[in-house]
Symmetry: C2
Subunit: 202 residues, 2 copies
DNA sequence: ATCACTCTTGTACGGATGTACAAGTACGAT
DNA sequence: ATCGTACTTGTACATCCGTACAAGAGTGAT
């Protein structure tokens, strides 16, 4: 209906009233939206249009702020990495204050797994980085996050070992959609930690 | 050039001579091709046309044998899982014959990592399964592969622990495109295994 | 007030994609 | 021999994609 548009060359009515300018906020909103879309659809099914819709912005905004789709996705992954590293600083504090760090670490992991979307995107990053060289620095930074946090306490090598079991347990929980096996994880971390001495009579 | 299609309604000349019928071979070829495309492009960028081209078959073959794209991809992942489980039986034998199974397991992992495409697709499966319920049985089966293999020797729980470190180390190597840290991995596996007793005076 | 510039918004376009389908062909049953 | 069926092959089509771009509209300098 509405026999509107008598002159197709000029139809400024349907145009959305222009919003206040805020380039940096837009960049951030797009990065956040990209992160969410990647978490939900995966890197391969992330599109300009999905991100724009998610951010509530017109399609053109995506290409204005990010020259190419890969850049947009990279921004989303970068945003996720920043979020994780902010979390890690909190973790570090919590670990420092805990009398039993292996158990505390397990608790943190379980908490981390509450929001699977966040977890999902990190592993998505790993797999994507395996394919795309440009993402490798991001993946490396992510991979170094937990070990760097643990290194002051237990040394870098052991920290990497602990991070590996942690990743393995989380990957299992993620892929099979099950709960984290906390008791086994804590025990495994203990056995990997340098001050672990099993009872001799076992 | 080439004066185009004088009679567009009838042009049976260019038609490829029909190949011998072999439905099962086609199914298998498509599954294999799907596996390869997924390994190279990822689940999200796998298309009918890429798989068909890879298999050297016409586009229609993909939809004839697999009703939907998701089915085609699932078939590819299933194919990869079968390949892995075949490998696992060989691993099992190699482990049984080795006097030092942690070291042997590390060697096998390193060998496994030689072909990153194969490794890649397995982790792709995990991430995809986290998003898609239909893939979860496949991911679970994959996750159980290594633990089931190790369980007779060290028990299921410890086997899962060892599998977790293994996965963690492999994930790191995959994401950062580095070599597997074999000495650290072997040491970590040893510390997780039940008969490990650290030297008391350390 | 004018201008230059940056940001916003909508739309266009060539191409790729999932799926449907028509036309043709091998092959076993009769 | 013929016939029905299951398989093969090419193409059609609506939709979605990445990217380009034109047309406004704020904003600060002059």
């Amino acid at each position: 209906m509405t026999p509107r548009r008598p002159q197709p060359s000029r139809a400024p009515e349907g145009r959305r009233p222009q919003r206040a300018r805020d380039p940096e906020a837009r960049r951030a909103a797009l990065a956040k939206a990209a992160m969410e879309v990647v978490a939900e659809n995966g890197v391969g099914r992330t599109t300009h249009r999905a991100v724009a819709a998610r951010a509530g912005l017109p399609l053109g905004a995506t290409t204005y702020y990010f020259p190419t789709l890969d850049d947009l996705i990279a921004a989303g992954l970068h945003h996720a990495l920043d979020a994780l590293q902010a979390d890690l600083r909190i973790w570090e504090e919590r670990l420092r204050q805990s009398p039993d760090w292996p158990e505390a670490l397990t608790d943190l992991a379980q908490e981390y797994l509450k929001d699977r979307r966040q977890v999902h995107i990190e592993y998505e990053l790993c797999v994507a980085a395996a394919r795309d060289t440009a993402l490798r620095p991001l993946a490396t930074a992510w991979m170094d996050g937990v070990p760097d946090m643990l290194a002051p306490t237990i040394g870098l090598d052991t920290a990497r070992d602990v991070c590996a079991v942690l990743d393995g347990f989380i990957l299992r929980a993620l892929a099979t959609d099950t709960e984290l096996d906390t008791t086994r994880l804590t025990a495994a971390i203990r056995r990997l930690s340098p001050d672990h001495h099993p009872v001799p009579g076992s």
